[in-house]
Symmetry: C2
Amino acid sequence: MKHEDRNINSASGSVYENFADKLQARIDKLGNPTVMGLDPLIEYIPEPITSYINENCDDPAMAAGLAIYEFNRRLIDATCEIVPAVKPQLAYYEKYGVHGWEALRQTIEYAKRKGMLVIADGKRNDIGSTAGAYADAILGRTTLPDGSVKAMLGADCITANAWLGIDGIEPFLKICRENGKGIFILVRTSNPSATDIQDLRLEDGRKVYEAMADKVSEWGLDLVGKCGYSSAGAVVGATWPEQAAELRRRMPKTFILVPGYGAQGAGADDAVAGFGEDGKGGIVNASRSLMCAYKKQDLPHEAFDIACRQEAVQMRENLRKALAARG
Amino acid sequence: MKHEDRNINSASGSVYENFADKLQARIDKLGNPTVMGLDPLIEYIPEPITSYINENCDDPAMAAGLAIYEFNRRLIDATCEIVPAVKPQLAYYEKYGVHGWEALRQTIEYAKRKGMLVIADGKRNDIGSTAGAYADAILGRTTLPDGSVKAMLGADCITANAWLGIDGIEPFLKICRENGKGIFILVRTSNPSATDIQDLRLEDGRKVYEAMADKVSEWGLDLVGKCGYSSAGAVVGATWPEQAAELRRRMPKTFILVPGYGAQGAGADDAVAGFGEDGKGGIVNASRSLMCAYKKQDLPHEAFDIACRQEAVQMRENLRKALAARG
């Protein structure tokens, strides 16, 4: 179950398993193309956790970090045999400063120990050595002043924004190739103002997001795994199922990360619209609908993890049905 | 000198000074439109600092954080009466984990105490509440589990990427309006592969980066300060001076952040090409050429701060001459 040893620890030049293959294998094993978003706003954390920690920790910022980690840990325990991956949204950890960053590190370590793959959702973007620093920080390892080398976060995969072109993506692709890591690049997002730039029409007839899709498809070619999909994937919003189907035709080998299921409004049929004809090559994110399931179910708040598990099972069934209905 | 009290601390609804006005006033006072990038790769830090800290700190990750802060602190001391602002590049702090994040927090606090404005270069981008979490984390304040409120980083300004459109920018604009903060949005970057997406031609004749410029210009209209420029500014690469001049005509009220001076290759004439006709509304970043000036000058490495100061004075003179030559 523990996959960390396959990713980290080797300076021997040994070949790491392709990220897309690892992800697809885990999706296949659990029969569930879901990633659970871990976006731990303090307001989402059930009162029994925050009040216990407030009573036992004098430093409110540290209490925030401890509460976030405890919340995540129990959500991971409740879902690690159902859900193949987690996606911590970095903004919600940065919001709590150094203690938030420590909670992020602990969450990633714990999720990996429980066999889950970790997609660090940071939408990072910069060029050259700066993009390399992000890759080291989030996916790779850092050389310290005494010459020792340490993985700081050790996530399996990152999300990125390619407005700067390949210069900003290549440092991530390098670590994908060399260490079996993955990347999902924003192609078409599901928010209303995605039209501001992404939907503009180019003189060659393509929309800007289609030009981005073509680039992402091309960049990922040498990262296509045995599963037929690439470790350099794309983020494609679920509220635009026609676009998702078009983009699948345009990027036949690109793994697609679909945000927007559940609380953000898209249903299971929309969410799988961008999957391949083989029913693979896609993973659907749900954050609030899983984390905050306890707010909707008739269970005491203490049982937030059970509520999350029930909701995750329901989501898995919905996605299975939607994939089966596609035939 | 200390400007923190004007930015933070008030829940009274009082009006904060416009960020562009604060930045332009400080540029005018020092006669220097420079921002010093603080991109503290361990390799940049002079050996006397790293060896002293290695000898006195057993934890290599903590030693990295301490070395970064000590390096930055002395660079700030050496330049705070010459250079109006600093721009820490977040990737280089994230690379050193929680200790890097703590060094970032301390660096921002120290720079503000010394009267410098702080532009947090994170190129953040996301939508809705997630963009709001980044805004809280980097510019604003965070509500903790006990109900207390604390500024985690308290930077004056952030860099952002607007691929997602206004949905991803509005949460930052809100804090700009309400708390006198600033934002610089990527418009045209100076790296070779900026052509991949930014330079594509739209059917209406504009290039994609020009469409982005039009959006940035529009979004910033209600943040134009008394100085005539907006707190919602743009990043425009210095190695493309013709584009910078065109973009200035296109975005007459947009404050422009120009990266790429010095080590990245652009000279002073190129760097000021996007300034307004009044010689204002622009600021030029230099990182490595200032931080690592000691590597080029005939001074002992212990005197890295003096080398940085000399280089900053030289850069100021070069920019003054370039602005004067424009007439």
